[in-house]
């Protein structure tokens, strides 16, 4: 008996040591691998959302479409390779990148310092959003109204914790947005906490008659696309920084915003003004 416990412990320890070796080994890979690999196989694999209309979702034919899918296509076009899309979830998107299952992630991710420790997030940020609430008209007037009440949310969103901690709301988080919205319609919670930009497009879709976005958005947070951490300072990170810069100053993102029926945000306008070079010396 004693012997078997000993050997069990031994096996467990070995497994942990091996796992940590595997972890460090993938992290130690040289930079620029990613770029070479993409060009070699002639295909760019991008992780995108499949349940986040209109940034990344499935159309009636089941095809992945949306603003971020168009952006992924732009990157593939710039490299002259084919595009393959992989649907990812908020709760696993960084692991897809870490494990090399995708080359690039454009998945409505808020750019936060703890995430920068896991993946490379090249600047300038391409979009921004804050936290708001979708609720029945007239029910909620301020954030503090949420105290002690059930609020629907999505598993993996960082503001679940904030809303629970700051306002004492009871967050009821589901796996997908479809379920959390259904729970809201069923009246299982007073509101659905999510990105203001996404709620805005839901309201504009006309499917939410009698609902509103009643609060002032909080925690406005820029979004970041992500590359593997060790590629951040190589070709791959710099390429994506350049892509974002060009998207912002060329007005391409504003164009896409319009195409996908997203309410124009002040962010893109100010970013474009801030980043556009003076070019006085060229006259």
């Amino acid at each position: 008996m004693k012997q078997s416990i000993k050997s069990l412990v031994h096996t467990a320890l070995c497994a942990i040591v091996l796992a940590s070796f595997a972890l460090t080994a993938t992290q130690a890979n040289a930079a620029n691998d990613r770029f070479m690999k993409v060009m070699e196989r002639g295909k760019l694999v991008v992780g995108v959302k499949a349940d986040y209309k209109p940034w990344g979702y499935r159309d009636s034919n089941g095809k992945l479409v949306g603003m971020e899918i168009d952006m992924a296509q732009d990157v593939a076009d710039a490299l002259g390779v084919k595009l393959e899309l992989v649907p990812v979830q908020s709760s696993n998107r960084m692991q897809f990148l870490q494990q090399g299952k995708i080359d690039l992630m454009i998945a409505t991710m808020s750019d936060r310092s703890d995430r920068r420790k896991i993946v490379g997030i090249p600047e300038p940020n391409y979009y921004t959003s804050g936290t708001n609430l979708l609720a029945k008209k007239g029910l909620i007037k301020q954030w503090s109204d949420l105290k002690g009440k059930p609020v629907c949310g999505k598993q993996g969103a960082f503001y679940n914790k904030i809303v629970a901690k700051r306002y004492g709301a009871k967050v009821v988080a589901f796996v997908n947005n479809a379920e959390s919205k259904q729970a809201l319609r069923d009246g299982k919670c007073v509101g659905w906490v999510y990105d203001d930009s996404s709620i805005g497009s839901d309201l504009a879709s006309g499917q939410w008659e009698g609902y509103e976005m009643p609060l002032n958005s909080e925690d406005d947070n820029p979004w970041g696309l992500a590359v593997p951490l060790d590629e951040m300072n190589g070709i791959w990170g710099n390429l994506m920084a350049g892509m974002q810069y060009r998207w912002l100053i060329s007005g391409r993102l504003m164009e896409l915003e319009k195409k996908w029926g997203i309410q124009p945000t002040a962010f893109l306008q100010t970013q474009a003004e801030k980043l556009t070079p003076a070019r006085k010396h060229l006259k």
Binding site: S90, Q155, A157, A173, E179, D186, V190
Partner: protein
């Protein structure tokens, strides 16, 4: 306690292994809460499934044809559909058909997500338990049954006092299996936002980006729980052993 927290904070700073639940109060409380909900959920659905199995196995041998067909239909229905589908069905469909009251802008059902999880998991495992108990009942010799009858036992009384106690001993190993399975299936309750261990771990690793660490914790938690359950069941099995029988 303070030393314990210090150790894990140090571990994070030096190695990057982030066991945040052991050094941050908020996450620690969340983790304990998740653990507690899980244990309650497991206990309640185990109990419910056993009751369903006990009653179902009796109804299978009932004189009434309606009862017999009813129980056969129930077994087919619950054995032939995935447990996750059942949980979602119970919560989103039956949950809306059952009475609820308005609590100021939102509906509170008399059965909440926890209750629905217990009911659906209990019925799911119960369907298997009925068949497991039946195998035990069929192993009770006809002569024993007749002897009970000769002593003047009614059908129900001989089921409770003679047949079931013998049948139970025969089918304990199979029951053991099914209960272990049920314990693991309770993780599916995260789909209807029951804040059990799986749900809590998911939220913690999303907030702290420590997926591998929480996976390890989750793994150890369930290995530990199953070990406790199996140990208890084996003890019980030994205790109930009748010399010369089975």
């Amino acid at each position: 306690m303070e030393f314990f927290a210090e150790y894990f904070r140090d571990l994070y700073d030096t190695t990057g292994w982030n066991f945040v639940i052991f050094y941050e109060q908020y996450e620690y409380d969340r983790f304990l809460e998740g653990m507690w909900v899980s244990i309650k959920l497991i206990f309640a659905s185990l109990l419910f499934s056993l009751v369903v199995g006990f009653i179902g196995a009796w109804a299978q041998g009932a004189k009434s044809r309606i009862l017999r067909y009813g129980i056969a239909g129930y077994i087919q229905l619950f054995r032939n559909t995935p447990p996750f589908v059942q949980i979602l069905f119970f919560y989103f469909v039956l949950g809306n058909l059952t009475p609820s009251y308005d609590a100021g802008g939102y509906q509170v059902g008399y059965i909440e997500s926890f209750g629905w999880a217990v009911i659906s998991l209990g019925f799911f495992a119960g369907a298997f338990n009925v068949e497991i108990f039946r195998s035990g009942i069929e192993a009770v010799p006809e002569s024993t049954r007749e002897a009970a009858e000769a002593l003047g036992y009614s059908r129900l009384m001989s089921y409770i006092h003679v047949i079931f106690p013998l049948a139970f001993r025969v089918c304990l190993p199979a029951l053991n299996n099914n209960l272990v399975n049920l314990l693991k299936t309770t993780t599916l309750a995260y789909g209807i936002a029951v804040p059990e261990m799986m749900y809590t771990a998911n939220q913690i690793w999303s907030d702290n980006v420590n997926v591998s660490e929480m996976m390890i914790v989750l793994f150890i938690f369930y290995v530990g729980l199953v070990a406790v359950l199996v140990y208890g069941m084996h003890k019980w099995e030994k205790k109930m052993k009748i010399p010369g029988y089975g």
